[in-house]
Amino acid sequence: MFAEEAAGASGVTVGAGGPTGSGAGGGSRELPFQFTGNASEYFGIWIVNVLLTVLTLGIYSAWAKVRTKNYFYRNTRLDGSTFVYLADPLKILKGRMLVLAFFGVSFLTQFISPILNLALVLVLVLSTPALLVLSTAFNARNTAYRNLRFGFRGEISSAYWIFLKGGLVYLFTLGIGFPYFQQRLTRFILGGHRYGTTPFSFQARVGQFYRCYLIAGLFAAPGLIFFIASMSSMAKGLGGRPPSAENLAGLFVALPLFYAGILLATGYLQAQLANLVLSHVSIGPHRLNAKLEVWPVIWLLFSNAIAVVVSLGLLMPWAKVRFTRYRLSRLTLVAQGELDAQVDREFSERGALGDAADDLGAFDFDLGF
């Protein structure tokens, strides 16, 4: 009855487009992520955002943020559906004003009372773990897929523990403990998420993080050693005299080698850390799988920087779309059965912290995850 009527009326039939549930039932399927946005469309959105932000002296930036984020979420497709960012721009504006007020006050106190200024900086540093939890929760709660919101259930006290332990390890090992801290924090953040009532989990081990940094270090090492060696030999021979031709030649080789090593190491870290982190995220029975490649990432970072500089910033939207398209093209979800999940009634409202905490979480507190 239904199908005939629809076909008769306007030639539309149900099931022609959109997610159909595909009826696969059980079994494992590898669902690709796909980015469907394009640079010229995003350029229009970006340029209007910039113009209105300038015209309103920054106030529109909250709306601009939601529109931008949504352009990327709405163009991220998985199993025929897209993601959506539901945050209220007014909340984000309030969050930004709060941050601005805090920095304004701390800016002024630096002239009036250095002690008070120091106290404010200390307050900011000490509240970092709490702010991280609040803003993670805000962003998770305001992200949805198939009309079901994500959530974050990490406890603020756990965040403090991780920062305390990580900070101590970091200090006592002179930075060598950083991968340990990164693994714990990533596990806390990603593992604390949920989709509806379906919990996330994160399984990458500390050793795997160390392996990434070790290999990246090996890429950077030759250039670094050569660079330091040629600098010190030059400094030794110098003592007031101009550097010899030999010194200069050495530096001429060392400098490009140094930069090449840094670029290689950065690209390697970007690609392999993303692979490590994402490929160890599970959402209920499903899991993510990321296969970024080092050379394309290096090429993207390098060519994007050149393009943005040469175009005086006008190719920024192109660079961002290009970067996102590549990253999503290398990401899949290995699904077991359907992507069904239930709404989280007990937590969907706002969490236990109420309105004020929600406002605090509304500014962007991005540690680069």
Partner: protein
């Protein structure tokens, strides 16, 4: 009266993530949602007052929020646009501007013009008002302690002969008499390079290397006039205000796009800060010129001091946009013009 067009959509009940393919039939006062034959669900009617349609964003799927937490999502933007037109609910949407390429190009021109006006005049004006709204006490308290830290990190005690020091001090005291409100104080330090600078609390520091490079004290007095100009105009406070407001503003405008562009995102800030600093230098030069004319000093002394300070330095074209000072040639030319 616009015609109502049926369109395909996906229905979510708000309880689960399960998608149901549906056909939506818009009418004057309601939407009728019909499910597929397999689902065996009765059509659902939603009154117009219970429907909220998201603003269009490019060609991305459009959300239609229904009563409760239910949702329709459709790829058919044209049909939703038609529905909004028929219901008269669309209003003025950003999409109309965002999708208009000619308008976008106009926006580029407008942004550049507005940005130039804002950064060239607007922000410096605001920072100036704010810096002069500060009480004298507060303004001269800024930078207290700066000399102590500089002494610890960069400076070594002066090795200038006491005689030369006293000559310069005497001249400086004479100059400071015209500005009784400023707590001016002169300090000599060894720093490894010829330089002079002023702290906001009125301390003017001259390095041994600068004094040694100037055969005549008159040239040093010319430099001191420029430094007093920095104190009088409260340049330190203004620079702090200007650069931090500019940084905040750029964060709002460029924002997260910087991730994809790496370091390139920092270039506008470098250029803006150089511009603010160059403006202050020009202002201090103007102050010095005026002061010297009033005190019957020879502007040529300032020109010669600049020449001596820039010896062995070269200024390349592009460096001009990142430099803290205006090109020396232009600065010298201004004083020479006053001389003749």
């Amino acid at each position: 009266m616009a015609e109502h067009v049926e369109f395909v959509a996906t229905f979510y009940d708000g309880e689960t993530s399960r998608p149901s393919p549906v056909v939506v039939k818009p009418e004057a006062e309601r939407l009728t949602i019909r499910f597929s034959a397999e689902e065996r669900r009765a059509p659902r009617h939603v009154a117009r007052s219970e429907v909220r349609i998201d603003a269009r964003l490019g060609n991305t799927p459009r959300a239609i929020h229904l009563d409760g937490d239910a949702l329709l999502e459709t790829e058919n933007n044209a049909a939703v646009d038609a529905l909004e037109k028929a219901w008269g609910t669309g209003g003025l949407q950003p999409y109309r501007f965002e999708s208009n390429l000619r308008l976008a190009l106009g926006a580029v021109v407008l942004i550049v013009a507005l940005g130039a006006v804002l950064f060239r005049w607007g922000l410096p004006f605001v920072a100036r008002q704010a810096a002069f709204a500060m009480s004298d006490d507060l303004a001269h308290q800024l930078g207290a302690g700066t000399l102590d830290s500089l002494d610890r990190i960069v400076f070594r005690p002066t090795r200038l002969p006491t005689e030369r020091q006293n000559e310069i001090r005497k001249g400086f005291a004479e100059m400071a008499k015209s500005y009784p409100k400023l707590p001016l104080r002169l300090e000599f330090r060894q720093a490894g390079a010829p330089n002079a600078f002023a702290l906001p609390n009125g301390i003017v520091i001259v390095t041994d290397e600068l004094v040694e490079r100037m055969p005549s004290n008159r040239e040093i007095f010319a430099v001191l006039a420029h430094e007093i100009g920095h104190v009088e105009h409260r340049h330190t406070a203004r620079m702090a205000l200007e650069s931090s407001i500019a940084a905040l503003f750029m964060m709002a405008v460029i924002g997260d796009a910087s991730q994809a562009a790496g370091l390139a995102g920092a270039l506008p800030a470098i250029y803006a800060n150089a511009t603010f600093s160059q403006n202050h230098e020009t202002e201090a030069d103007e102050f010095a010129l005026e002061f010297m004319t009033r005190a019957r000093m020879d502007p040529e002394d300032f020109a010669r001091a600049l020449e001596r300070l820039s010896e062995g330095e070269s200024e390349h074209g592009i460096a001009r946009y990142a430099s803290s000072h205006p090109p020396t040639k232009e600065r010298i030319a201004r004083f020479r013009a006053a001389h003749h």
